[in-house]
Subunit: 385 residues, 2 copies
Amino acid sequence: MIMDPWSSQTVDYKKIIKEFGVSEISDDIRQFVVETAKSKNVNSKWFTHNIIFSHRDFDKFIDAHKRGESIAILTGVKPSGEFHFGTKQVIQELIMFQKLFNAKTYYCVADFEAYADNGKWIDETSETAVSNVADVLALGLDPNNAYIYRQSMEPIVQKFAYYFSRKITNATFRALYGDKSFSLYLSALTQIGDILLPQSDEHSGPKHVLVPVGIDQDPHLRLTRDVAEKNGFITPSSTYHYFMKSLDGSQKMSKRNPDSMLTLSDSDDDIKRKISKALTGGRDTVQEQKEKGGQPEKCMVYELSYYHVENIDELESRRQKCKSGELTCGECKKEIISKLITFMNKHREKKKLYLPLARAIVEKGRFDGQSKEGQEMIKRYLVKI
Amino acid sequence: MIMDPWSSQTVDYKKIIKEFGVSEISDDIRQFVVETAKSKNVNSKWFTHNIIFSHRDFDKFIDAHKRGESIAILTGVKPSGEFHFGTKQVIQELIMFQKLFNAKTYYCVADFEAYADNGKWIDETSETAVSNVADVLALGLDPNNAYIYRQSMEPIVQKFAYYFSRKITNATFRALYGDKSFSLYLSALTQIGDILLPQSDEHSGPKHVLVPVGIDQDPHLRLTRDVAEKNGFITPSSTYHYFMKSLDGSQKMSKRNPDSMLTLSDSDDDIKRKISKALTGGRDTVQEQKEKGGQPEKCMVYELSYYHVENIDELESRRQKCKSGELTCGECKKEIISKLITFMNKHREKKKLYLPLARAIVEKGRFDGQSKEGQEMIKRYLVKI
């Protein structure tokens, strides 16, 4: 079975856990996260709602954190379009981990991958990168404890790609990714560079690094774990979330199908329209729904509420009300639309404040919030809130 | 027929001209070079002695020069060892062209290729790179009109490699180079980046670029010509020389066979020993040689004299004296040894003067002799001669 990070597809999660050898989130891990989150006043719904469903060596990362060792967190997104809600989710995970572990957090603008995968050269994606980085900051990444960079402007990442090009055979590439273009294999090598960047000499050497991603990125993790082990790095840890489905219920949310997903640049009207058209688990008539109740397990709006109703009890109460027929689809949609519009209005306001800093970061190509230069950029470009 | 730039091999030059579609040096070209050389007091033995035997679009490059257009010259060498005399030759060609055309001349320290091909990572080759660059300067490259860089520290080259990774299929790589490792294909992409560097926006855009190389490098030229044409660059021109054979007559000189080649780091004793052991076209006995004469066409010392006897008449006179039995092998070797030792002593003295500048260039990774910074480096590090 080949999981291909470059295609949208439906996923059999049970099969993945079994075949890829990833681990389910244990009760111990969940308990640790939820309790730490509570003590730090951080929302941990990705764990309470079981959206992050599996991991590799997350326990080892937690142990390193408990021992007070140097750790880091990293994820990356292609600047191939405005963030959709699936991307927002991984960024929110990143931010949750930054708060939980108080560790330096890396955000990679994967512009070389956007080129390899979508054919948009780095000058075509720089404006999108500015918007993406502003979203990341507006969602809550603390720039004072962050490293933000573009693949195309980070020589360490490129050097790693060259270095590991000699350690991986064409056969390994094919086994992991299927028969792909040279360019996509090169982009896989570049992602090894991304994941190992926090362990480079320039970033104070080997450390435990946690990489929150979608399960489709696991081939990159497997490849990196393999070469890390053989080349003096600490094997990276990773967490995996379920894919948010698209609003028509067809597959994972994907930038390739813009009509069926919410994005962070949607207007209020976009949200209303998209949610109104979304696939639900409603019955053919109101009468039938009142009698038989709704089917939340089939409903994309219920799925959305998984990501936007913070409290697990409230979520369960919604499910019960739907199943009993008490909560109609119209009312339910109205409530979710209202929640989303409130969130989006706040987000838009915040994003405006972060745009100048985001632009400066993207233009510079590399930003270290802990460096003198980074601190000066924050002072200069971050409009005081 | 696949010419593989990564293997040492004997070469059928007639076949190459026919199959690769390279052009022989025409009388017009030779005449232009020799006359220009004479007027500028430059040695043009690579053309008078027919060592540079073929080219691609060298005539177009000359025409651009005559029209006064912006032009550049470029070659590169892996820092995988001390320069052998085959490498010295390509550097001397580069320097001849710099003088003939008074054009900005690029020297690439191909450290990524040294890694891909020889497995030496860039930190292992940096000392060799210093020695190589000092050799290039001591041989006569004018740093005031030169750009010298390491592949690993030139982001423009790396960006080109990524850019063109999407324009070339695995099938094209295989057709051009045979079934090689991912790493060598990546190194081929990097060489496209090298060859197009002088045409990048940062280097004032499209221009005619001349690339003097050994014929084994032609696959890189063909690949670059192909992508250049399709992507708004001017098709590069190239010249090709015969390979200097190794002293045992077995194949082209190669860093892989250090005992049978002269290098720029040889001591006087090394030179004496190596030349004394070299394969000649001598007869079994002095008596027989006096009667039948020597066989210069089989003699590696005669071949060496091709590269070290500047005057074509003197060369011809040596050949006649050999064939008539007048010049014995012992005497001939003695003369060549003396010529080489004189050259090497001068070279060693010059190289000492250039080492500090070479070290500064390699440490910096990029050096532009025409920039303010480059001029300051020359002033600071170049010991006045």
